[in-house]
């Protein structure tokens, strides 16, 4: 439904100083299908918000094409530049952007009131539509309230109602949860997800919070320096990162440098300075190629009985531990390096203790060298 082709946007680009310009979005393409919640995830400055604002029409891209359901909103080649107020998209801003000089009802009614004369609903129909969308976000009892008197979570829902009242084909969400406190954020995460699924909204979501992205999205695009690093379902992005950056940005990883020794039936034997690791992977690597092994700490097991070492079972010494409530983090010295192991709270080994470090196969992913 949403198609982005070769989108590029740079800042500080006057014709005179082409060299000094910064590419905020660097030739990205992706598609969002009907009814899905698609997330752009990345650290600040990666271009995710700029991409969103280009789709909204609030920024003017330099190159590329943006289309929704075949309707071209922007095309550098064809010179199509639909102004943002004619794109009919819904958008929720990070600051909610609730108008403080209007009450709850008027905030939601605004998009209907500014429709072109012919399409503007009559008074009765208008209040019916406003009330319907207010009840969807469960604010109907506050319609007469001044918008500034709402709590953070209520303002958030109001912003959502305002974005939905025109029933837009696509809802743009710009870090909508980042102004809420931790508890409320978790609640709103489920609420948003529920609304999105029940109303069948197609959504483009921007966040720097990996937990939010994994929890809510149907698909995630991890962005970095204006480029998309990896697109996939949350689970596959987490379990099969394709680069060191993705493995590092999403979740926690131990990185171990190694060399491919051989490959038996999709299981790579990798020689590292801590010992040999056997890693299943469907990627192709040459024998003798340098690789990075990313190992998730929650799939690394520690044991105090010291028998049996070999591939994927190493010897180490606990250097430190931290009790985090649900889990206990251990820092284990293995050879020249330190490895983080996340154990359930029943396992808690004081430092210094010699331990066996067992890597489960699902801990591993192989990524190419370089960041």
């Amino acid at each position: 439904m949403l198609t982005i082709r070769n989108l590029a946007k740079s800042y500080g680009a006057t014709r005179a100083e082409k060299r000094g310009r910064v590419l905020a979005v660097d030739d990205i393409s992706f598609d969002v299908t009907d009814g899905e919640l698609f997330t752009l995830l990345g650290p600040s400055g990666c271009g995710k918000t700029t991409t969103l604002r280009c789709i909204a029409g609030l920024e003017m891209p330099d190159e590329g094409e943006i289309a929704i359901d075949g309707r071209v909103l922007f095309s550098a080649e064809r010179g199509v530049r639909t102004p943002p107020n004619e794109r009919r998209l819904g958008m929720v801003f990070q600051s909610y952007a609730i108008w403080p000089h209007m009450n709850v009802f008027e905030n939601v009614a605004f998009p209907l009131r500014v429709l072109p004369r012919g399409q503007r609903p009559r008074k009765h129909a208008l209040s019916e539509r406003v009330e319907r969308v207010l009840s969807v976000v469960r604010l109907d009892h506050l319609a007469g309230r001044q918008a500034t008197d709402l709590s953070g979570g209520q303002q958030q829902r109001l912003a959502l109602a305002r974005a939905l009242v025109l029933e837009p084909p696509l809802l743009l969400l710009d870090e909508p949860l980042s102004n809420l406190d931790a508890k409320l954020r978790e609640e709103m995460r489920f609420e948003l997800k529920r609304l999105q699924r029940e109303l069948g909204i197609t959504g483009l979501y921007v966040t720097h919070d990996q937990v939010e992205a994994l929890a809510m999205s149907n698909r995630v695009a991890v962005m970095r320096d204006g480029k998309i690093e990896q697109i996939g379902h949350p689970r596959s992005v987490y379990e099969q990162p394709e680069s060191r950056f993705v493995a590092d940005f999403i979740g926690t990883s131990n990185f171990i440098d190694g060399t491919v020794e051989r490959c038996d039936d999709g299981v790579y034997v990798v020689q590292t300075d801590g010992g040999v690791l056997r890693i299943p992977s469907d990627k192709h690597y040459e024998v003798g190629q340098a690789v990075i092994v990313a190992a998730r700490p929650e799939h690394i097991e520690l044991a105090t009985n010291l028998n049996g070492i070999g591939p994927n079972v190493w010897r180490g010494r606990v250097e430190a531990r931290a009790f985090l409530g649900e889990v206990v983090d251990h820092v284990v010295a293995v050879g020249p390096r330190e490895i983080r192991a996340r154990c359930n709270s029943k396992v808690s080994i004081p430092a210094p203790t010699e331990v066996t470090v067992r890597f489960h196969e699902e801990a591993f992913s192989l990524v190419p060298t370089g960041d």
Partner: protein, 554 residues
């Protein structure tokens, strides 16, 4: 601790003296005669013929000039902050005009541009096109000139307001499908309403207080407003102090209402603040086909507000006798007026006295304000709110009213013989500019963490040492900025000075005023051009300093 209490006490008493005594005396003067309470002065004042017209003129003048300034200033501010109109730096340069062109010079320049007989614009532009002259020496003319002089102030106020607005409030309206026009009228303007009301009130108060425009344009035509009426009453022979006091009281009541109302609004304004995001720097709205009209508007404004007045003053300063520019006059230029002005004893007195008063007032005001604002911001001394309010009070007193009050005090008080000296003008300036000094210092004072002082105390420093070695050095940015600002405004002050000066005690603005009344136009313009140049340098230094210090702070 007793040293501290002594200083606190002295400063409080002094500020109270400055702020309250003139007001008290004004009341006493107006409502008593020979020691008995009476309303005679009010009766005399308000039974004079032409009074209704005077009041109507005052309100028309205030309302009109405010409307002109607010409409133009707000429009330009929105263009500059939110759209991609070119030449934005020009607008900020133009916004310095009220600082660098004193009101009296600005008014005289417009007289040369738009008077019916010798107005250049009338002769070369307006009459050829419309077949009639625009008479600047009328209420309309006064409104136009005062409005133009106040426009930059509105511009700066509204720029600040538009900039502090969360841009996503407007963007979300755009995303809701509203065209730009609708966004401006339904979102931007309502959100800027507190700032807009504040600007309206400030401009109305300023216009009511204004003396330069009514005096230069109105007096000869017998168009009176409150300020020129007060001046005329005091310049009659014999001067009628109590009647002038009665007019001054009325004016004071009006401006006080305005100022208090404004304060109420600015407190309410805070209710309009909502959560703001990380402040994505918004893309300026592309004007499209409106870009050219907007560009012309900006350039036209720059020409009208900066180039035309300065050009006509400069031209006039090169003439032996003032005549509108023609082929003949442009070939007979002279620099003689600059020399003549330099050797004029009036100018020499003015220069000396303005320097003494400017530097003296600025230093005294800033020191006083530093201690006073320290008391208000930092201490828990009981009654410190009183100091705050006392130091704020002179803001409501128009310069001319303050002049009347101070005049009557020191004419009556034999044990403080400062009438006819510079001291009396110094006291007037000190009183007028204390509120400005307070504002500059308090802003910096709030930025100094309390721990910085506390750690100095813990290191063993006494109160005076803490103040001298920690507080004052940290205040330097605000202090210097405020100091320069006060030098600038006191050099241009006319309202109080015009009632308080005596021969040999003239200041520069009085020199211009006297020359205007004597008809020495070319010499006046020469002095004016030099004065503007001096103020440009001073304001330039202030901005450089401010920028430098600002960078270091960040």
């Amino acid at each position: 601790m007793s040293g501290r209490n002594l200083i606190v006490g002295l400063v409080t008493v002094f500020i109270a003296y400055l702020a309250l005594v003139p007001l008290g005396f004004l009341l006493w003067q107006t409502f008593t005669r020979g020691g008995h309470p009476t309303l005679a002065a009010i009766r005399t004042a308000y039974s004079q013929s032409g009074l209704g017209t005077m009041t109507l003129n005052s309100f028309a003048f205030a309302g009109g000039a405010t409307a002109v300034a607010v409409v133009i200033g707000t429009g330009l501010a929105h263009l500059v902050v939110r759209t991609d109109v070119p030449f934005k730096p020009l607008m900020f340069a133009a916004s310095l005009v009220p600082l660098i062109i004193p009101g009296i010079l600005h008014t005289i320049a417009w007289f040369f541009l738009l008077s019916t007989q010798i107005g250049v614009l009338n002769i070369h532009v307006i009459h050829p096109i419309f077949g009639v002259n625009f008479n600047v020496a009328s209420v309309h003319g006064m409104i136009l000139v005062e409005g133009l002089h106040l426009t930059p102030l509105v511009f700066l106020l509204m720029v600040a307001s538009f900039r502090s607005m969360d841009p996503s409030l407007e963007e979300s309206a755009i995303m809701s499908g509203a065209p730009l026009r609708t966004v401006f009228w339904r979102i931007t303007l309502p959100l800027a309403r507190p700032a807009l009301y504040a600007a309206i009130l400030i401009m109305a108060v300023r216009t009511l207080e204004s003396f330069e425009v009514p005096a230069v344009l109105g007096l000869n035509q017998h168009i009176f407003v409150f300020t020129s009426q007060i001046w005329t009453t005091l310049n009659a022979s014999p001067p009628d102090y109590s009647t002038a006091g009665a007019y001054a009281m009325a004016l004071l009541v009006l401006t006080t209402i305005g100022v208090l109302w404004h304060n109420r609004i600015s407190k309410h304004g805070r209710a309009y603040q909502t959560v703001t995001g990380k402040g994505f720097r918004p893309r300026p709205i592309p004007l499209g086909r409106w870009r050219w009209p907007a560009t012309i508007l900006i350039l036209a404004y720059f020409c009208i507000s900066v180039l035309l007045p300065l050009a006509i003053l400069f031209y006039a300063s090169t003439q032996n006798f003032y005549a509108p520019p023609s082929h003949y006059t442009l070939r007979h230029l002279t620099w003689g007026n600059y020399g003549a002005a330099w050797h004029d004893p009036l100018v020499q007195h003015g220069l000396k006295n303005s320097l003494i008063l400017g530097l003296g007032t600025a230093t005294a005001v800033m020191l006083l304000a530093a201690v006073a604002s320290w008391i208000v911001v930092r201490t828990k001394v009981r009654g410190r709110w009183l100091i705050d309010n006392l130091a704020f009070l002179p803001l409501t007193i128009p310069g001319l009213v303050l002049g009347v009050a101070i005049l009557t005090i020191y004419l009556r008080v034999p044990w403080l013989p400062i009438y006819g000296t510079l001291w009396i003008i110094f006291i007037a300036y000190l009183t007028r500019y204390i509120p400005y000094g307070m504002r500059y210092v308090s802003t910096s004072m709030f930025q100094i963490g309390r721990e910085l002082e506390e750690s100095a105390q813990m290191s063993g420093a006494g109160w005076f040492q803490v103040f001298r070695r920690i507080v004052l050095p940290l205040l330097v940015p605000g202090f210097v900025a405020g100091w320069i600002y006060i030098v600038v405004v006191s050099v241009r002050e006319l309202g109080s000075s015009v009632l308080l000066y005596s021969p040999g005690r003239e200041v520069l603005s009085i020199a211009i005023w006297e020359m205007w009344r004597n008809g020495q136009f070319p010499e006046l313009c020469a002095l004016g051009i030099v004065m503007v140049a001096g103020l440009v340098v001073l304001v330039g230094v202030a901005y450089k300093l401010g920028a430098k210090i600002g960078v270091r702070e960040a």
